[in-house]
Subunit: 154 residues, 2 copies
């Protein structure tokens, strides 16, 4: 289905662009803030990895791959400077999470995509059928673009 | 068609969030750079207005509403500091362009949305049917989110 493909293609394209950004930044650049007193590159890498990692249960695929990321990069801000991960470790997790998502994405038909995600009840889904799995991908692509705009400032 | 609605809804939601950002920034904040030596808020307002203004001919709706924006905010960078527009004037144009786009959006069926945009030939469109009008909206929503991420730094 062409509309499903367009949304998935837009996701993959944005992941590719952000990955290229990450791999072209030096370790030193990744430790810089995108703007004075704002998040550092390394934090945004961890944040995006944790965000994509949280999509596994949300889309009903599997448990998160790296549950230790949530506390450091979703619950806590960059102000708690002690993050027990190096840029290289986070880059590895970033690639692993996106590769695993891609595998699951490739197995879904449009009908599967239009099923509800796991954070909405059957009752609410009847009233709001747009709150389906594909809409999670659509909104996470926007989320990714949002932080892409910040990462280009490094 | 639910997928069409999801993409259009995502556009409107992002336009609304960016509009709220613009209206909550002071004149002084809009004159700041999002990060040292990067674009100012006023430039991004002009840039996004010019970008959305260029969607009228691209989607086959009408001629651009404000042709004078292109030169200042698409062709030229913020480094040419002389922009003959105030924040208030640009905000007015921003609202006008998005309101006019919305009117045109509301008139289209999914079939209309899946027609080619005006920057692709009939020949190429046969081979690449995803290069349709709705895909323009999808990619411009990502473009908008990208700059939203920068505007939140002001």
């Amino acid at each position: 289905m062409i509309l499903t493909q367009m949304i998935i293609q837009s996701w993959h394209l944005t992941v590719k662009r952000v990955s290229d950004l990450f791999f072209n930044l030096t370790e030193k650049e990744m430790m810089r803030e995108v703007s004075p007193n704002r998040n550092r590159g390394i934090y945004l890498l961890g944040h995006l990895t944790a965000s994509h990692n949280s999509m596994f249960p949300l889309l009903g695929f599997r448990e998160p791959m790296f549950s230790e990321l949530k506390n450091h990069f979703l619950i806590n801000s960059d102000k708690l400077k002690e993050k027990p991960f190096t840029v290289a470790e986070l880059l590895e997790k970033w690639m692993a999470v996106n590769d695993e998502l891609k595998k699951h994405f490739n197995n879904l038909s449009t009908e599967d995509w239009l099923q509800k995600h796991t954070a909405i009840s059957d009752e609410d889904f009847v009233k709001e059928p747009h709150r389906n799995r594909l809409n999670v991908v659509l909104s996470r692509t926007n989320h990714l673009s949002y932080h892409q705009g910040q990462l280009t400032l490094l």
